[in-house]
């Protein structure tokens, strides 16, 4: 479950030809995708506001 992956840095953009052929390797069924995306906002906790104390 907790598989971890590190993606490789792309050195530069591939050409259109290479990439469209690669893209078709796996087709995305866009209608069926679960497209949720969330981040945890950097919050100020009442326990962390005391930044101007002495």
């Amino acid at each position: 479950m907790d598989e971890k992956r590190k993606d490789q840095e792309q050195a530069e953009a591939p050409t259109q030809e290479q990439s469209t052929s690669k893209a078709s390797e796996e087709t995305l069924d866009v209608e069926a995708l679960d497209l949720t995306i969330e981040t945890v906002e950097d919050r100020i906790n009442p326990s962390e506001t005391n930044v101007f104390d002495k």
Binding site: L28, V40, V51
Partner: protein, 767 residues
């Protein structure tokens, strides 16, 4: 005869600049004839040590052993009590390598010219925060942040505090002291060792070190003092077992007692006997044949501040602080000239009486400190600036720097009280001219009824006038505001918020705090006046803060919820609070350093606004590709849901609070009962290694990123889509916009050999 003294500011204090206590003591002791005084800021030394690749590498391994992520697999639900462990394990898993790789760079950004580049600053601050989360996870359930250190032990029970000093599994400072502090002390052999404890967060680290020093150097006298001990010191010195960590404690102002203690110990060394009973404000352990007795001496006389030497910062590691220029603290006065506010206990900390240095003395000390240390910036440590000083100090500072171009003159910030007669248009202009760039005013509330109960002797109208005058003069205005004062209603709290919003053109920051009752304040001593009933914690022999029941207005719980409502509104309305600009507010002096460099508050606010807007304006347009510098892990529960539940006021109450580290009675049980356990939810936690942010996606989201990667860029992917459904395209385009805003997709420059169709940005939204 040599008499080495070592003074230590123990962890945890904030990491941007030194604190004032040790430099004042060092200067005093040296003037009293003790030439060999060493001072160490162990708080910044510890932060620097923990936030290093080697340490973090070890922390990462420890997290894997102590909080393995696969332990959460297959679970039917995750209760509140395990959410922090889960969150820590998940975050460490995806962020550790990137944090280890970037932590030295992040510190260098904080300490150098890149600090002023916001696009470098924000990821660097995040790297430091995430490094501390890794350190915390390695010592779970302990938590070290830039503003706090808490353990699984309650700070208001001496038994727990003392047990925490021996728990190496959870107390990261034991190893730190053993490796980084004790060897130097063993070589130096101080005869007197002083611990400075300003905050509750320092209590356990101080006693931990006291214990270790007493064991390693039995002849060294270990004493402690500082703001936090002014509140709970008496109780602490009465608790069994503390004599293993300390020999004595100094109350309130430390200079005179410390000098006399050093004299007495030196006499002891020379004559074989010493009398500690005549030292003012000292409480000490008298060891007799039958045991150990606590002796509390009479209070010392306050020092004549104007005759006291300027603080001596020699020996502090200026290059370690997380700021490009060190802002030095300087005490212009001690005590509060007003001293009437019913909630306030600040005047208690330093001891009785109000004393001030003269404007000429201040100006001459500051120019000396400037020349000696090559610094230009100061934060004046004062409960608030008195009106006479507001008038005289600018003249003295301008006079002392005549002939120096305005931009090279010293700049400063400090706390202040609303004094409309002093902060006139002309007065504010003079203050700005003398280098004042930021003032923090005690505003507290916009409701006259509450201001009267608080005995603030100020009106909202005067706040408005003072804020406007200062802001027009170019001084940034911060307001301290309070939510949950006894009897305050939700409407009254919202009136405070409305007032701030109406003044957002002149109020740049707000330090909002929830109301606490501590044992020194009038609210505790005379609760009937405020219609409240104070609750006592069972078995809490070091209790300082108390829960209470109020017959009118919001409950403590409602006030905690109101805090969130107000904070969310401030995040939406104040540019410095918007998005990740909030980091400037959260790191002491960081925003001020921009002001000191010549950026006006208006310019800074405009930059923050532009940045937030530019972020929001990112679309799925232009040459975009997946940000390949990312690490991801599939999780059995939602990281975001865990973080949100942990941020709920009920869950927050179950954690030790800022000043005391105490657990509110029954809070954990109440929170467990009311906050639903998390259901399993497979998701992917991604760490963006460029922006240093956590983003949570579904598995499909990761597939989209991979598809963009295979396609080479976003355009290619969209062109290759088989779907002819325009709704599907729009949906994907909107998602890609979101990925772009979260930093998982970035724009790029085409490589030179790219076909011509790629040199023109393609507007995806028109597909």
């Amino acid at each position: 005869m040599s008499f080495p003294i070592t003074l230590a500011f123990v962890p945890q204090g904030h990491f941007t600049q030194p604190y004032l206590a040790l430099p004042c003591l060092k200067a005093w002791l040296q003037e009293a004839g003790f030439a060999d005084v060493e001072q160490r800021d162990l708080s910044i030394e510890a932060y620097d040590h923990f936030l290093s690749p080697d340490y973090l590498r070890r922390a990462k391994e420890r997290v894997r052993e102590r909080l393995p992520l696969n332990a959460f697999e297959g679970r039917k639900s995750l209760p509140l009590g395990e959410l922090r462990a889960f969150r820590s394990a998940a975050e460490s898993e995806v962020s550790a390598d990137a944090v280890i790789a970037d932590v030295e760079g992040a510190k260098a950004i904080m300490r150098g010219e890149d600090f002023y580049d916001v696009d470098r600053y924000v990821p660097a601050v995040r790297t430091l925060y995430h490094g501390l989360r890794l350190v915390s996870a390695a010592h779970y359930p302990s938590e070290l942040t830039p503003h706090n250190f808490t353990m699984g032990y309650a700070n208001d029970r001496s038994e727990e505090v003392l047990a925490a000093t021996l728990d190496e599994d959870q107390n990261p400072f034991i190893e730190f002291y053993r490796e980084k502090v004790l060897p130097g002390l063993l070589a130096r052999k101080p005869r007197l060792f002083g611990l400075s404890v300003v905050y509750g967060s320092q209590l356990i680290p101080a006693l931990t070190l006291g214990r270790m020093v007493k064991e390693a150097l039995p002849d060294c006298h270990v004493t402690a003092g500082g703001g936090f001990l002014a509140y709970i010191g008496e109780k602490l010195m009465g608790a069994t077992g503390v004599e293993e960590c300390l020999d004595s404690m100094i109350f309130h102002e430390g200079e005179a007692p410390m000098g006399e203690l050093a004299e007495a110990l030196r006499a002891w060394d020379e004559a074989g006997q010493a009398d500690l009973s005549a030292i003012g404000s000292l409480t000490w352990f008298k060891h007799t044949d039958v045991g150990c007795e606590t002796v509390a001496n009479a209070p010392a006389h306050p020092v004549a501040l104007n005759a006291a030497p300027p603080p001596d910062f020699d020996g502090l590691p200026f290059d370690l602080y997380f700021a490009p220029e060190v802002v030095l603290p300087y005490d212009i006065n001690r005590g509060c000239y007003y001293g009437e506010c019913s909630f306030c206990t600040l005047p208690t900390v330093i001891g009785p009486g109000y004393r001030t240095r003269s404007a000429e003395t201040i100006a001459s000390h500051l120019t000396d400190l400037r020349d000696r240390h090559g610094v230009r910036h100061f934060s004046f440590i004062t409960d608030c600036m008195p009106p006479g000083m507001i008038r005289d100090l600018p003249e003295a500072l301008i006079e002392a720097q005549s002939g120096i171009p305005a931009e090279e003159r010293m700049k400063w910030w400090c706390d202040a009280r609303i004094e409309p007669r002093a902060y006139t248009k002309e007065g504010a202009k003079r203050l700005h001219e003398s280098g004042c760039r930021k003032l923090l005013f005690g505003f507290e509330s916009a409701t006259p009824r509450l201001l009267k109960l608080m005995r603030k002797a100020q009106s909202p109208r005067s706040v408005s006038e003072v804020a406007r005058n200062c802001s027009e003069a170019g001084i940034s205005v911060t307001l301290y505001a309070m939510v949950g004062f006894p009897s305050e209603t939700a409407e009254e709290a919202r009136a405070t918020l409305d007032f701030i919003r109406e003044h957002k053109d002149v109020v740049r920051e707000v330090s909002l705090q929830t109301f606490h009752i501590d044992e020194v304040a009038l609210t505790y001593r005379d609760p009937e006046q405020f219609n409240i009933k104070i609750l006592d914690g069972a078995g809490t022999d070091l209790q300082l803060y108390h829960d209470y029941l109020s017959e009118q207005g919001m409950t403590q719980q409602e006030a905690a919820e109101m805090f969130d409502e107000m904070m969310n509104a401030l995040r939406a309305d104040l540019p410095i609070f918007s998005g990740d600009n909030i980091y400037y507010f959260m790191q002491k002096s960081h925003y001020f350093l921009h002001l000191a460099r010549g950026t006006t508050p208006d310019e800074f606010v405009a930059q923050c606004q532009q940045r937030t807007e530019a972020h929001q304006a990112r679309e799925a347009a232009g040459l975009l590709r997946a940000n390949a510098s990312r690490t991801s892990a599939t999780l059995p529960f939602s990281h975001v849901a865990a973080a949100n539940t942990l941020a709920h006021p009920l869950a927050r109450a179950a954690r030790p609070d800022f000043l005391t580290g105490r657990f509110v009675a029954d809070a954990q049980a109440v929170a467990e009962e009311q906050l639903e356990p998390l259901p399993p939810q497979e998701c992917v936690l991604v760490y963006d290694e460029v922006g240093h942010e956590f983003v949570e996606l579904s598995r499909d989201g990761l597939r989209v990123l991979e598809a963009i990667e295979r396609a080479g860029n976003v355009d290619n992917l969209l062109q290759s889509l088989n779907s002819t459904n325009p709704g599907a395209r729009t949906r994907l385009t909107e998602y890609i916009t979101q990925l772009h805003r979260k930093g998982l997709i970035t724009s790029f420059q085409p490589a030179t050999a790219v076909p011509s169709s790629f040199t023109e940005p393609h507007e995806l939204t028109s597909l």
